[in-house]
Symmetry: C2
Subunit: 340 residues, 2 copies
DNA sequence: CTGTTAGCGCGTTCAT
DNA sequence: ATGAACGCGCTAACAG
């Protein structure tokens, strides 16, 4: 059922020229007489010619494709990052392959291999779970790669991440300044860099303020339910520990915080009067839940754009060698709303 | 900086055989002696060979890629559909190009052309704004195409959509059965099929129940803010009309409904005591807002899976011609929560 | 300015 | 069972 593609050969035959001439005419490079160029251009439009980027990529060794790997599209954080990447990519005639790992390191590596097979010019991985194991593989392929919010940066692997440590420090300073003392933390069980950093920031901030970092619960996942379940456990532990709920709950991210709000509500506790709650990311819905969440606004879209720009630099760097920063740190800002 | 790819020629040289033999050995087709097959397979692993799907696609005329077009990644509805598509695609060794239109029909067509240039085997478009204009273009290219939640179905264009009309009917029956009478509707201004259908269902349901469909507001967009702004207008109009708020607000989707909840709260109105609210889609967060939303659960993930399966059928249909449904209708289910 | 030749990496005939 | 030759659609290097 598929129609045969019209190729430059077809045009060449119709125009009575050779196919390289058509190629030159269409991409505007090389010397072609204005007359034949116009004739060819018009002919191409008439018969509906679309150049095969596959064939072109094979010879130029440049596919104008990049691979993007995220843990899950459904996560509002990652989908906004991806949107930033895609927009910036298209501005540069690039298309993106998108794949989700479902937080499985094995799948992540498998996807990277697939992308290599598809001859992508570069790869962006958001919240990688693999880390070091890329190094050896990359050495072989030489594919430029940018890690977003991952653990580490090696030679050849460039990294962009948000300063999560500082983010939670801002949140904690705010909470402590408001007089909250028994501040519990809900972490995300997944061993990503962000999780480690944020938890450490909570711990250190408590120490610095001479408050005991006594109450910490690992959520089963980083989503709404994870936050609700963790909160249930947390309240039980608080009861055992203090015979009272905590003053505030500092959450790994917004989705978990929203789950926490729901659980507190279910247990008849008012926010922020009984228990304050904070999130992280500033996803769109945080402004519309009850109460609106105090959180850290990460420049998600901008992070995607930045990652793509860095990748493009790396791709072109094959020829023109300039200085490229190994790691870029982005800063978020505290957004105070009525949950604290 | 990019390393040279290792090709089957390299393996052939090392193994002392010809490249076609390597090709046959690696893809397991054609007769090759077990001995050389093993030797070649092992060699391929050792030197880290990854077949070039680009080159393969050029000769087989099958790229094992599909293009996916969505209005916006950031929309939780579309990102879940996309996730379903991607998972089903990968199960069949397919990769997906993902692009977002930002709700711009011109961009949608441009993206489709790009995909054609990339020789995708098929295209899935979610919530297309273009409709009929695809027909002519498709005729030329013959690319199999599946429209998700779009207006129409033509020859060659297959369509999967959710029965939005029935969905809102279920919501309305529920509201009317609960005794709500003055039921207002908030629509999404964008002229997509879903919007038209849902609004019509509200209108008809009111008529059938002998209630005047008096209060309708178009939101500026389908997101949280859009719902909040529309609700503000709506309450003002209700005041002018009835000197009272409506009994219930039926919203185009969940995000707008969540915006509505926030605005009602801001105006000191209780849900559902003062004003009931309903959504549509059953996105993840609906269960965790206050109050949890009554809504219609669309099988988002399943719709993505189904679309991909249909597309695969169409792709293979080039050779084996069987019966393929032109349109598939999916049914959602009413989920009753405490917002009504 | 244009045509000829060559090759990107692979699969698919045909021979042998 | 294997190798030689060819082509997918395109661009690059040279001719002329």
């Amino acid at each position: 059922m598929t129609k045969k593609r019209v190729s430059i050969k077809d045009i060449a035959r119709l125009a009575g020229v050779s196919s390289p001439t058509v190629s030159r005419a269409l991409q505007g490079r090389g010397r072609v007489s204005t007359l034949t160029r116009e004739r060819i251009t018009q002919l191409a439009n008439e018969i509906g010619y679309t150049p095969s980027l596959v064939a072109r990529g094979l010879v130029t060794q440049r596919s104008y494709c990049v691979g993007v790997v995220v843990p899950s599209f459904a996560d509002p954080f990652h989908s906004q990052v991806a949107q930033g990447i895609e927009e910036e990519a298209r501005r540069h005639q690039y298309s993106i392959f998108l794949a989700n790992t479902d937080v499985d390191p094995a799948r992540e590596l498998e996807i990277a291999r697939t992308f290599h097979g598809r001859q992508v010019d570069g790869i962006i991985v958001s919240s990688s779970r693999v880390g070091n194991r890329y190094a050896a593989w990359l050495q072989e392929t030489g594919i430029p790669m940018v890690l977003l919010n991952a653990h580490v940066a090696f030679d050849q692997i460039h990294s962009i991440y948000h300063d999560d440590y500082q983010g939670i420090c801002l949140v904690m300073q705010h909470l402590i300044a408001r007089g909250y003392r028994r501040i519990a933390y809900i972490s995300n069980a997944r061993g990503v860099r962000a999780s480690v950093e944020r938890q450490r920031a909570w711990f250190d901030s408590m120490q610095v303020a001479a408050l005991p970092p006594e109450l910490l619960v690992n959520g089963p996942n980083g989503r709404f339910h994870g936050g609700a379940i963790a909160t249930k456990q947390l309240l039980a532990q608080a009861q055992a520990l203090w015979q009272a709920p905590p003053d505030a709950i500092c959450c790994y991210n917004d989705t978990m915080a929203i789950g926490a709000l729901a659980e507190l509500r279910a247990q008849g506790l008012k926010t922020p009067t009984d228990v304050a709650v904070t999130g992280f990311d500033d996803i769109d819905v945080t402004e519309f839940v009850d109460p609106p969440l105090t959180t850290i606004r990460q420049p998600r879209h901008q992070m995607g754009v930045q990652a793509m720009q860095l990748l493009l630099t790396l791709i072109d760097d094959r020829t023109a060698n300039g200085y490229v920063p190994r790691t870029t740190v982005m800063l978020g800002e505290l957004v105070v709303r009525s949950s604290t």
